[in-house]
């Protein structure tokens, strides 16, 4: 017997939880003791007078029962003699859209609840777009509360047409409208409701039992990401993973992506047997005929259809964090089994959830969707999401909080990585630095405005110059007069500011110089991004630690006074955050040491 995974979604109060409770009740999935608890709860929290409030069966969290809303996706299980069902009951409130996306990402069909009295609402459209974006192909429009509109065919017809007009440009394969009443149980299990003789279609349960979600993964060529390398002893080396598409048999020729190395399947090893064939969706361990290197995140695929690899893509992205997406910032990402860093390099357009219109956007806020360009820090094997969900989906993770902040699907690779070849450089960085008898480095000063960064940096520059070293200072204020004069002080611009400085510093280090960078650089993520541009040991983070009160007392440029008067916006330390380094190479506390002593410490550190 097969399993159908579907979601129910819709707006507030249109009866999702009631509908699911009704399905569980009618398919005899409610046990006696649960029914007793439901009766008691219906009296305590119920909204249906003396009747059973089925919504209370599924709203499981105390806060949900108290507020009478669904906050998080709930998974329910029921079965009929024809099929087994996993239903994800997803919340309607906009603020919980990410929970709805969680449920939708693994669903094969969607039940969109509509209150017959209200018709197609913004929420319905939002949920439809997310369902379509995540690749759900079959939707049923469950037009609920028909009892409240006198079982009117006209109301049903109007809503059906409205939705079809709206969904025209969404990629649903089938749309089925069913008029029903979850409260009364009409058209939920049995079809042919006496009150609606005009409706000849199936009941909701009949639809769920018969909808055929095509599983593209079954017919696609074989591909499996390596999830875990199984090497219990020297005589066994297997590549474990879940087959993303197609099927595989011993003897099949395979090619690894991205390395391009070829081999042959020697055996499919599973508990207790040597399998002769494994299919899409199965977790297996593959043994290859040759001793080759593959690690987690590589993809094993049939040689007939090798899996491509690239580092830059166009993608759709759903943002799920209260903190806005900052283009240029480095985030962590997971695509199938491959962990990488990812940067959103360009927001091509944001999607208006109601009209489908393309809007210009500089950043992306909670629950917003956009088409973007993304750049991974390494080449990743992939397939477009429309072809292969497992190889084309990724999540975006904040590097500091580790929260999951975005979910993306890949459209196609931008061929830039292939087209823009690096110029092969024959005289190396080491050779250039050796000529000057120095080690090329980037000394990165960070600290509040007025903390003494520039003072210390200038003294250090003189000191190193006197010692015959070739140095160069990149100073925040100076660079902002030229290279970065198009940038302001918003969070987005600050990120771009640091990105450019990092790149310039990298070129100078490549030239063999000791580069002294003196920038407030308030965010850890961007300093980390700069650090990642360099080789280990090249980047030296120097934290000039002066308390805010002291900086404000000195106020050499009079900026703090201005900021306090509200004449200067986004001033670090006043109305914009400074994230102090956690493990800088050097931590200079200026209250305890004069600038000369600080310089001494740096020189001492560099000699080690």
């Amino acid at each position: 017997m097969d399993t159908l995974r579907f979601i129910t979604c819709g707006s507030v109060d249109d009866g999702k939880s009631t509908l699911i409770g009704r399905l569980l009740y009618e398919t005899k999935l409610i046990f006696e003791d649960q029914l007793e608890a439901l009766k008691a709860d219906s009296k305590k929290y119920g909204t249906q007078g003396d009747r059973l409030d089925f919504a209370l069966l599924v709203d499981g969290l105390q806060a949900e029962r108290e507020q009478g809303i669904t906050i998080d996706v709930a998974y329910r299980f029921f079965a009929t003699p024809k099929r087994r069902f996993i239903v994800a009951d997803t919340p309607g409130h906009e603020q919980y859209t990410r929970n709805m996306a969680t449920g939708a990402s693994t669903a094969q069909a969607a039940v969109l609840l509509i209150d017959a009295r209200k018709g197609v609402l913004t929420q319905t459209k939002r949920h439809s777009r997310i369902a379509a974006m995540l690749g759900i192909r079959h939707v049923v429009l469950a037009i609920n509360k028909m009892d409240m509109v006198d079982w009117s065919q006209a109301v049903y017809g109007e809503i059906d047409q409205d939705f079809r007009a709206f969904a025209q440009d969404l990629s649903f394969a089938t749309i089925t409208s069913i008029p029903l009443s979850a409260l009364e149980g009409a058209n939920v299990v049995e079809s042919g409701q006496a009150e609606m003789p005009w409706f000849a279609g199936p009941s909701l349960l009949q639809w769920l039992e018969t909808v055929e979600p095509e599983d593209a993964a079954v017919t696609l060529p074989f591909a499996m990401p390596v999830q875990w390398v199984n090497r219990p002893h020297l005589d066994f080396r297997g590549f474990s993973g879940r087959i993303a598409s197609g099927s595989v048999q011993p003897g099949d020729p395979v090619r690894l992506s991205p390395s391009g190395v070829r081999s042959r399947i020697k055996a499919i090893s599973v508990w207790g047997e040597e399998k002769l064939k494994a299919d899409s969706g199965e977790s297996v361990t593959l043994v290859l005929a040759d001793e080759i290197d593959a690690s987690r995140g590589d993809v094993i695929a049939t040689t007939a259809h090798p899996v491509e690899a690239a580092d830059q893509f166009e993608a759709d992205l759903l943002w799920m964090s209260e903190h806005v997406l900052l283009p240029g910032r480095s985030y962590a990402a997971l695509i199938h089994c491959k962990a990488a860093s990812v940067t959103i390099t360009d927001i091509k357009h944001q999607l208006d959830i109601n009209s489908g219109a393309r809007l210009a956007a500089k950043n992306l806020a909670l629950n917003e969707i956009a088409t973007v360009n993304v750049s991974f820090d390494r080449v990743v094997p992939f397939a477009p999401y429309r072809e292969n969900k497992r190889l084309g989906s990724f999540i975006v993770i904040d590097k500091l909080t580790h929260e999951t902040v975005g979910a993306g699907i890949l459209h196609f690779a931008l061929r830039r990585a292939v087209n823009v070849h690096w110029q092969a450089i024959e005289v190396s960085k080491t050779a250039r630095a050796a000529m000057k008898q120095q080690r090329a480095r980037c000394l990165w000063f960070t600290g509040l405005s007025g903390s003494g960064k520039s003072t210390i940096a200038n003294l250090l520059d003189k000191r190193l110059h006197a010692a015959g070293k070739h140095t160069y200072i990149l100073d925040g204020d100076n660079v902002r007069h030229g290279l970065n004069r198009d940038l302001g002080f918003t969070e987005v611009d600050r990120v771009e500011n640091i990105r450019r400085i990092g790149e310039v510093a990298k070129l100078l280090v490549d030239a063999g110089l000791i580069v002294v960078v003196s920038f407030i650089s308030p965010y850890r993520a961007e300093r980390q991004l700069a650090r990642e541009l360099f080789e280990p040991g090249e980047f030296v983070e120097i934290f000039v630690d002066t308390p805010l009160e002291e900086c404000e007392r000195r106020d050499v440029k009079g900026l703090y006074a201005k900021a306090r008067r509200g004449e200067l916006k986004n001033f670090t330390g006043i109305d914009s955050a400074y994230e102090a380094p956690e493990t800088p190479e050097l931590h200079l506390r200026t209250l305890a040491a004069k600038p000369e002593a600080c310089v001494e410490r740096i020189v001492e550190w560099l000699r080690r």
């Binding site: 017997m1 097969d2 399993t3 005899k28 046990f31 006696e32 003791d33 649960q34 608890a37 305590k44 069966l57 599924v58 499981g60 969290l61 105390q62 806060a63 029962r65 998080d72 996706v73 709930a74 998974y75 329910r76 299980f77 079965a79 087994r84 996993i86 990410r98 929970n99 996306a101 969680t102 693994t106 999830q227 875990w228 199984n230 090497r231 219990p232 002893h233 066994f236 297997g238 474990s240 879940r242 090893s269 599973v270 508990w271 199965e282 977790s283 361990t285 799920m320 962590a332 997971l334 695509i335 199938h336 089994c337 969900k389 989906s393 990724f394 999540i395 909080t401 580790h402 999951t404």
Partner: protein
């Protein structure tokens, strides 16, 4: 009740979850409670890493009130599989003699299970703990992610769960945070029994009906597993043909009258059951939302 489904999908999903943790966690552990769900979880872990051994230890939180047959079964299985097994009992609870009769079921569970679990995880520095919870068991569990994050102090915040899309599990945590991982999230009770039957997975004999000494208390059959069960006035020990649908501390786990002595009979009985398995769990009746509250405090 669900008919027996195809297990291939469920099995593959659980195996994927085990491997994801093995590939990303620094010190994972499997909570082993000796029950039927733990037995299935253990078999799935063996399959996930076959032909290698299970690459993490088992941890049993021993409240001191488990059925004696459970303890004997635990030791036998751990030895057969060759798995490292940690046993842990809350030393404070043991010293103060905390038990369900003297201190009440709620307090006993708090100290000997919830507090003990947190102590054991901290003691060994485990960052990820597998648990056998299923979403069909209880309402707050139906809302929980497969990878469930715990703030320092092991607290669960149901309102701040991470989105969990596709099969992409974000396993990154900050120091002090931990993850509870539930590989059996999408299994139902019928799936568990069907799989045990199909795979011939060994389970504690208490699941099979046998004549056992029991007393009737609050309308439920409680087994007299040892001399520590104080008899109330009017209670008398009888021998009845009973079995257990779920196993925990013996004073807190009620038996059902049954004649099912084979796996086939158990499965048939489960499919026809009219009450949920947790009905035999005395602690679930402590109040509405009691499972959610216990979970927030760090209970599995």
């Amino acid at each position: 009740m669900n008919p027996i489904g195809a297990f291939s999908d469920l099995e593959s999903e659980s195996i994927e979850i085990f491997r994801e943790v093995a590939a990303t966690a620094s010190r994972p552990v499997m909570l082993y409670s000796i029950g039927k769900d733990s037995s299935v979880m253990l078999r799935l872990a063996q399959k996930a890493f076959y032909p290698g051994p299970i690459p993490f230890p088992l941890l049993h939180i021993d409240t001191g009130w488990k059925f004696r047959e459970m303890i004997a079964f635990r030791d036998r299985i751990a030895e057969e599989i060759g798995c490292e097994l940690f046993r842990y009992t809350n030393p404070r609870g043991a010293a103060e003699g905390i038990g369900p009769f003297t201190h009440g079921s709620a307090y006993h569970t708090d100290v000997m299970k919830t507090e003990a679990l947190k102590q054991a995880l901290d003691l060994h520095g485990f960052d990820v703990a597998f648990g056998g919870a299923r979403r069909d068991e209880e309402k707050s569990r139906a809302k929980e992610r497969i990878f469930s994050f715990r703030a320092p102090g092991h607290r669960w915040d149901p309102k701040a769960q991470r989105p969990e899309l596709w099969n992409l599990y974000n396993t990154r945590i900050n120091p002090g945070e931990t993850i509870r991982v539930f590989p059996l999230s999408n299994w139902t009770e019928a799936d568990i029994w069907g799989y045990i039957q199909q795979q011939r997975i060994p389970i504690v004999p208490l699941y099979f009906a046998a004549p056992r000494p029991v007393v009737k208390r609050y309308g439920q059959w409680i087994m007299v597993d040892d001399h520590r069960l104080p008899l109330e006035p009017g209670e008398k020990v009888e021998t009845r043909m009973v079995r257990f649908r779920t196993l925990g501390c013996y004073p807190l786990t009620a038996a059902v009258e049954s004649t099912a002595t084979t796996l086939e009979e158990i499965v048939a009985e489960t499919l026809g059951a009219t009450t949920s398995e947790r009905q035999g769990r005395v602690i679930d009746h402590d109040g509405a939302g009691s499972m959610e509250r216990k979970k927030q405090e760090g209970y599995f």
